[in-house]
Amino acid sequence: MPELEFNEEDVLTRASQGDRDAFGLLYERYIDRIFNYVYYRTGNLHDAEDLTARVFQRAMNHIKNYTDRGVPFSAWLYRIAHNLVANWHRDRSRRQEIPIHDVPVLPSKGDHPEKNLVRSQEQDALLRLIRRLPGERQNLLILKFVENMSNAEIGAIMGRSEGAVKSLYHRTLLALRDQLGDQSINLDGE
């Protein structure tokens, strides 16, 4: 459906009245974003699929309770995803985690299909560092870089003020700089 024809408010009203087709439109619109978020938080394609399905199942079951109080629908979906990912991490804390470099690399948006999908060692190291950060810092980086969201939008999802997000981002960059230095990854460029 073209963007111009998509009236989210109308679609949300219909979806909250049990219209599955309307919910299908919301699904089509947000599947990529939620999948990306879950994929980067789990580093695991199989679990990303399973959790994404659960996010939409839960959203469909509770959409009647969704009321627009200045928080966009996307923020509501991300919060569901965040809670499910947090539970997933809790459940898996006793089990061994799949290292991100063992996970197949998915093509990025805009990539040529024949592009060689291999991460450099440096990128692998950085991904591992990101995945070792506390959950909220990972959320922040994913929303900022994968979703290209502003601090205000991230704040709406994380339930923080814009200033708090900015400060958290600064602390996250500091932590990454120090850890990258420890791993001898060059920050000065070529």
Binding site: G24, I31, N36, L45, Q57, Q123, L141, F145, V146
Partner: protein, 89 residues
Amino acid sequence: MARSKSTLSEDQVIALEAHLAGVLTRVVPPIEVVQRLREQIRFPQSKEIVLRLRDWQRMFFVFSGVMSGLLVIITIARALYYFVARKHM
């Protein structure tokens, strides 16, 4: 690059952001994954169907709805039969 404990130079921020932007790119979910998820959304899962059948209130309304509908149809049929039969008398 000179490192200060709690501050980041503009160059460091730019370099870090460039690294992050290179790693955290938007991925495309495999088409079969999207398709499987779409099917799960469109069609209720078997668990959901079982739950619906176990919901006695829902079943009561469905059953009473069907019975009421049948009663209305029978009443209309009887009325029509009565009027048609009277005409032929």
